[in-house]
Symmetry: C2
Subunit: 268 residues, 2 copies
Amino acid sequence: MNQPIGVIDSGVGGLTVAREIMRQLPKEKIVYLGDNQRCPYGPRPVEEVRSYTWQMIRYLLKHHSIKMLVIACNTATAAAYEQIKKELNIPVIGVIRPGARSALKVSRSYHIGVIGTFGTIKSNAYQQALLDINNESVINSLACPEFVPLVEANNFSSPEAYQTVAERLNILKSDAQMDTLILGCTHYPILRPLIQKAMGSAIKLIDSGEETALEVSTVLYHKNLTRKDRSQPVHQFYTTGSAQMMEAIGGQLLGYKPEVRTVRIDME
Amino acid sequence: MNQPIGVIDSGVGGLTVAREIMRQLPKEKIVYLGDNQRCPYGPRPVEEVRSYTWQMIRYLLKHHSIKMLVIACNTATAAAYEQIKKELNIPVIGVIRPGARSALKVSRSYHIGVIGTFGTIKSNAYQQALLDINNESVINSLACPEFVPLVEANNFSSPEAYQTVAERLNILKSDAQMDTLILGCTHYPILRPLIQKAMGSAIKLIDSGEETALEVSTVLYHKNLTRKDRSQPVHQFYTTGSAQMMEAIGGQLLGYKPEVRTVRIDME
């Protein structure tokens, strides 16, 4: 029960999920691993994404005996979640189901929008999760390939950034009954003010990271896995790429500068 | 997996929770049992509440082989949840933890208000659940014994009803940092518009029923218990009291008139 929660991502985007877990569950300890060297996963074939994801998992199981795995990456969740959930004997949480579940809680029209990277939208994973729970939901999916570059260029408050976001989201406005929009990419919460402005205040935005942390809380509790150790948890951060880069971005996202170590996982 | 979810309550209040489960999980089947004959549980000694709650559980286990138990009653959850969770070998969801969890998700100040019946507030169960997850949360609890009678008298839109609600909630306003209020009684969502108006639009209201249904969704999924049968579920309703009364109130709350049967459970 005092073991850490493992959080994996193709890079630094999953730090928004880790941050939410730290905020909602301040007693839990996290081990974060980002595969920055091979990031982004989006354009890679599904089999390659699966193989890289398994390398991260084997690394965390071997070196950190994690009690739960969080796949904080929409692309990896879409490609490998079902398989990983079946094979591991610890609970596995992806970022897709929690967002779908929460959208079906807050929506009243069950007309739900989903935005994400091209890979996530193409996988249809949100659509499947939503229909699996409520087969009368109406889903409008839209890939927004322009959004991640805005975040990575630190350009998320300029008028040009707003223009890019607003133009893209205009496509979703054809469904006047839509009342809920899932931010299906870990980078998008950073664009939240622009997205809310572009969609209008009546549209409820679902932050997958927030909902994933809530699901982590629920599952830890019902599987009797909450941490009992009363000491302040010390989180650990690993990357397959530049430790310095993750320290810099982590400092911005987490509110404190994490100490990051570079590791090799391609032998796992 | 195709067995029903059992939902128990001291009376009809838990129908608001059942309604949320039906709304969020339209494929799941529910068996509802209300102990109207011995309602309300609020003023009874804890041992009596436990004993009555166990009678309801034994009835559902014996006659309906439920796959999950939802205790849709704050008083029974406060009195007996931990014990029941330990002793049953099916998942047990109460109404207190889901509300606490969700409050810690939406709050930014972690100053959280809780309103409930006298029994629920006195039990300190919300306080314990909140502090168990985040021991820096600041909790303001207030019993609102005037609220349930308003609902039961169908008096929830008059100026007098608003006055009663506003006067009582005024006590909570001394904590200017409070940003979230948990509606810790299954009757309160019906008063939601009055409560929101009295507290101001900046206060986020947590509906324990909505959050409980979300937790049901999460736990069913992670314990591989979701219903696979594609037929439309037919819910069942039982009461220890007047079937006619539950049919009337059920019709208002559920949007369709349920068929209710009266049963004896005191021999269980």
